[in-house]
Amino acid sequence: MADLKVRIGALELKNPIISASGTFGYGLEFADMMDIKKIGAFCTKGLSLKSRAGNQMPRICETPCGMINSIGLENVGIDAFEAEKLPKIRQAGATVIANFFGDTEADYVEAARRLAAMDGVHALEMNVSCPNVDKGGIEFGGDPVFLEKLTAAVKKVCPGKPLIVKLSPNVADIRPFAAAVENGGGDAISAINTLKGMSIDVKTRRPKIKRVFGGLSGPAIKPVALKMVYECVKTVEIPVIGIGGIGSLDDALEFLIAGASAVQVGTMNFVEPAICQRLAEELNAYCDRENIARVTDIISTLRTD
């Protein structure tokens, strides 16, 4: 039995396999299909102060080795999460990372304050790939100066719990954004969110997604994600959580070797609901087989000589 524990700021995870926001519901949906205590943590669907209905249908479609979604951040809202979901999640013994977002900086701060105060929420993950209402629709995660300010403002209201900031890959260079999170006092970075993409139904000549553009995820984006995660790791000292197209132990190892302290599995949860538990088990078996005492011994071992 290898030591699979990793640290994300003050939080110790029992292993580095996390299920990603928007692909794991509120965790409870998986209760019949796996043991959600056995994975490092899970990220909730992105939460906002008020519940949201999300975008119009259709809002998903398939692409080569991937999918596009334009769910539009549908969620039950923070009140319902606290009242209806969290007690059951706590009972299930899961480690919870509350993913959240807002339309304005004030929304973000208030959401973080609320979530940080909840017993059973172990860390916060801030999704900054949302249009900023105050700044005319530019994404919060699209300007490093603003991102640093937002991070600092949010960190102030959740001093006791790790604040992970989730970066958008739809930028020319991710490094200034990683640096902005660190400078703003963020405890960790997670990367990447979805790439912007589009798909057309040739028969109807309509976009397959009602809102035309959506977010590309799945194995197709893995090389892009790995490159950006590696760049973040080279830029900051705080832990980086790797996300994008992970579907096998080798995929997870690629991110750990590149320097990620933990990984998140998104789209592949749809294909294989128990995948995170399987990967955690396989990671343990791998470490034993390879005589690796601590999973942290794998992190940042890329050889580029």
């Binding site: 692909t23 998903i60 479609c61 979604n69 769910i71």
Partner: protein, 244 residues
């Protein structure tokens, strides 16, 4: 869950019926999610209504419409298939009502399962399709009324024509269970509401997961936004707020 395929054969041109081992329980109206290949292209599972489950053998009936179903059609007895489920809501007609089963094309699958599970109930099936080739399993129902758009078998026209002429429809004692293309379901929904019949509709939508977490399959209902894979695919007539 990896299941052993027992048989798979083309029952009509482009339509396949596959049987495989299944160790669990399931209710008519529910569906399963099938992985059509071991690789990731195509990536997502495909939803299929359960067409039968008896003695540890589950069956599905499917139409080849794209790459996923084409891959499914290549599978043979002895191959394995990865099955997840069952998922979703089931048909729950009141115990005593006469049941009107309305199927459009491949929509016959879950209705057949219901009929098999309820052999002693009064039920009439109305089976519609574009041509004779699209009429499936009509001989497996005790009472079946067939309609084709081109008249190649049964009545010429839409399946709603024999439906509304049926005694149990006219006297409003019939309870409708319908599955088929969205246009047909919408038409039946509007008819049922207008004519004062109750019933249930099994809807279709692209599904990312099948178990309620991707939120890719929602539809609006009188009870708010619902996930077709958890709160559906079976909804009550009058409940769905049709998109178009």
């Amino acid at each position: 869950m990896k299941s052993n395929i027992i048989t798979s054969r083309e029952v009509k041109r482009g339509y396949f019926r596959m049987e495989f081992e299944f160790a669990g329980e399931a209710l008519p109206g529910q569906f399963i999610m099938l992985k059509v290949a071991e690789h990731n292209d195509p990536l997502l599972r495909r939803p299929m209504s359960i067409a039968g489950l008896d003695g540890g053998v589950m069956s599905v009936i499917f139409k080849v419409v794209g790459r996923g179903t084409a891959l499914l059609a290549e599978k043979k007895a002895g191959d394995h298939i990865d099955v997840l489920g069952p998922f979703g809501s089931a048909f729950t007609p009141p115990k005593t009502d006469a049941v009107l089963l309305v199927a459009g094309g491949i929509g016959v699958a879950p209705l057949l399962f219901w009929a098999k599970r309820n052999p002693s109930r009064r039920a009439a099936a109305f089976i519609g399709g574009a041509t004779e080739n699209d009429i499936l399993c009509s001989d497996e129902f005790s009472e079946a009324h067939v309609a084709t758009e081109n008249g190649s078998v049964g009545r010429k026209g839409l399946v709603t024509a024999p439906l509304i002429e049926h005694a149990a429809y006219k006297n409003k004692t019939g309870y409708i269970l319908a599955c088929g293309p969205t246009g047909m379901l919408k038409a039946i929904d509007q008819l049922a509401v207008k004519d004062g019949l109750r019933g249930e509709l099994s809807l279709e939508e692209r599904m990312g997961c099948g178990f309620g977490v991707c939120l890719g399959c929602v539809c609006d209902t009188t009870g708010g936004r619902k996930r077709m894979c958890v709160e559906g695919p079976v909804f009550k007539t009058g409940e769905v707020l049709w998109r178009t």
